[in-house]
Symmetry: D2
Subunit: 237 residues, 4 copies
């Protein structure tokens, strides 16, 4: 079609691409989900419905990009999609990959909300949204370490949050007191506090809370020890 | 909190920022909306409901970022948000700005869908999603030319599509025949064809179709000659 | 010519460009010039020969790119070349501009060395080299401020270094003592120390030391108050 | 030291880095060396002195960065330095690596010129200079392929140029005629033309011309079949 004299403004666009033969992580992260989860009264520290909603969204996104994605892994309000190193999706353009994944994820989240929160309709003034980034990982070792990083983070965060909220909700500590009590403790001490003061054995907590959720290429959602299975998970890639 | 030995994977992240003192355009564009609009039976060439839905989303996004946005302009399945040159939103990080705008826009789109398409519930297999990009414009002249570019594009596309679909729908031409008839014609010839063959005066077409939609900082939605008003629109920026 | 099956490795190259309509600064900076200047026994704090050599190199580089450069400004072992905002030199590719300027500058430096240091032949084990970077400035105000920044820096550095080395060389202070004496002093106090303790009036120091060197498009080398002349210097750009 | 109100201009600088755990190629390429080689009357198609000068420069650059460089490879007026994937040189900043390598190389070139061209002093109006770029390669296979690409290119270029110049210099063809004669020929045909028409056996040409020059970490300069030795060359990296 006709081109106008304003067409030159396209020259200001920059097209950054991820270099070939690197694994691509697209990580999506809830924006102000602290506020969002308060507004919709999510249970602390984990809301089963909210986690299942995240998983359902991730599964649908993964299935739509099935041929490009190795697996997805999520916890809390974040999800990472790991793409094959040989993917040529959108010519590996950062802006395209990053925006389309987050947009599709968001679309799913709003669409599926009522299924998981049937009694809490979304309010147009308090809608969920997510940021997104793309990161390149050049070899199998570092992409495995990426996943292990998110897995360990899940463990660290969940253990802390579980003890913290039990101290507050069950033992009546203020949030400040709970914070002080946990400050400087290592993993085993936190588990001990949880057991001795709140009568809870961390091992009996739901697997989804302790291990996060992993979506396989077939769309299965697993709660497994990612580090133990790390080689298996990337077999063939 | 404790840091794991996997923490190093964060060093692979790159944080691109838009240089200071440049206007920022965030342009959102429907992904495969040709297919999407077919599935939901949008009217051709313009579906008033779909355009109003786009406008409502853009308005809500703009209002949420009101202090950073100068105006927004949209047509068809795309919308451009123009940010102040002195904005420090998300430290001008490309990934943050680009992803959060498109995610919030998508959230609005799915949320507001039923208001504009009350009889066509969204199907989880056919959800809307959008790509997004950030572009930097270093001075007033080129950011004005950017907006003018989108405005002229709206005109060119809409005139073509209007005549094309009238020839097909009213005069019974095949799409191929309509294409051939319009090939190589200039604006005035297209208007003449529209008038003589379909009995339609292009001037009487809805302003929203001919001029696109401009959302002001106050949230007003206007359908105006952007080029005539261009200096006024950027006054004070 | 024939292409080999290895040709694909070119796809790993990334071509970053500076966005249009922005002024470009190419700043060149001596690498380990502290060491280099010790080896060749540069006079402290300023070596007239070394500064004149820098100026000669900058002038020759500027003249080779005369149609693209507005001016160049240097002090000590650094030089900034300011390019027109409408330059299309090397399609505004960062790698090309940055590397070719620094390479030509280095070529000049080694070539002209013997003219300014006739008795100190360069030693292949101690050759000069420079780093280089490109920066984009979107408007006249900030490119003027860039130049003013370098000018003020010249003043601050030169005043400090002049007093410091006089205290060491004339008054016999150790470098540590000189440092302590100057710590926390403002400009006027430094000038006072220089006058009262070393008998030197800073105003009488050579203009090149106090003001740096500015190379005009005609190749003139000036030592002027850049801030006072700032509007004049960019007139017409 | 004191900071001026102009300091903010530093915020316009962008610091691009090469992602970790990728091999880095720094490729240096002569700027307008066709012209340069004509001016200094280089022998065609290969000037032994010029190639040896390039090698000497590359060797010295490599030795200065010995702990970071795996090897260097050059032909004609270009040289590639291949850096270890775990190098943290200049924090992997593109601008630093690219500019310092090309600047040091240029410094060497001008410095060593008279050793290889004792009767042809450099003219300040015709100085050599080079461009430079950094490229990231994520795995051993593709960095090997990079080197193989340059090696094959050396072969293709040298065979063509050898036959071409023999046809012109020995057989009296015009450059146009030589071009036409070679157009569309494959390798074996070119060798046949060279043998039958110019009486030259390509196999007897100097190894440096046919195979380019490879500089090892120890500073040895080899002319070997890079592809045959490719695994050996990268052993341990």
């Amino acid at each position: 079609m006709a081109k106008s004299r304003f067409e030159y403004v396209r020259d200001f666009e920059q097209r950054d691409v991820l270099i070939p033969e690197t694994y691509i992580v697209v990580r999506i992260d809830g924006k102000k989900f602290h506020e969002f989860s308060n507004y919709y009264k999510f249970e602390k520290p984990n809301d089963m419905r909210a986690l299942k909603l995240m998983n359902a969204c991730a599964k649908n996104v993964l299935l739509q990009y099935r041929s490009e994605v190795i697996l997805a892994y999520g916890e809390s309000d974040e999800y990472s999609f790991i793409l094959r190193s040989d993917t040529t999706l959108y010519n590996r353009r950062i802006d395209k990959i990053s925006s389309l994944f987050v947009s599709l994820f968001t679309s799913q989240y709003v669409m599926l909300w009522s299924k998981f929160f049937p009694n809490d309709p979304l309010d147009v003034k308090h809608l969920p949204f997510f940021d997104s980034r793309c990161v390149s990982y050049p070899n199998l070792k570092c992409i495995k370490d990426y996943l292990s990083w998110r897995f360990v983070d899940t463990h660290i965060n969940n253990l802390y949050n579980t003890v913290f909220w039990q101290l507050v909700q069950k033992c009546g500590l203020t949030t400040r007191e709970a914070e002080n009590k946990l400050s400087g403790t290592v993993s085993s001490e936190k588990q001990e506090i949880l057991f001795s003061e709140c009568g809870i054995n961390y091992n009996n907590e739901p697997e989804m809370f302790k291990k996060g959720s992993l979506v396989t290429r077939k769309g299965e959602i697993l709660h497994i020890d990612v580090i133990k299975k790390i080689d298996e998970l990337f077999e063939g890639y």
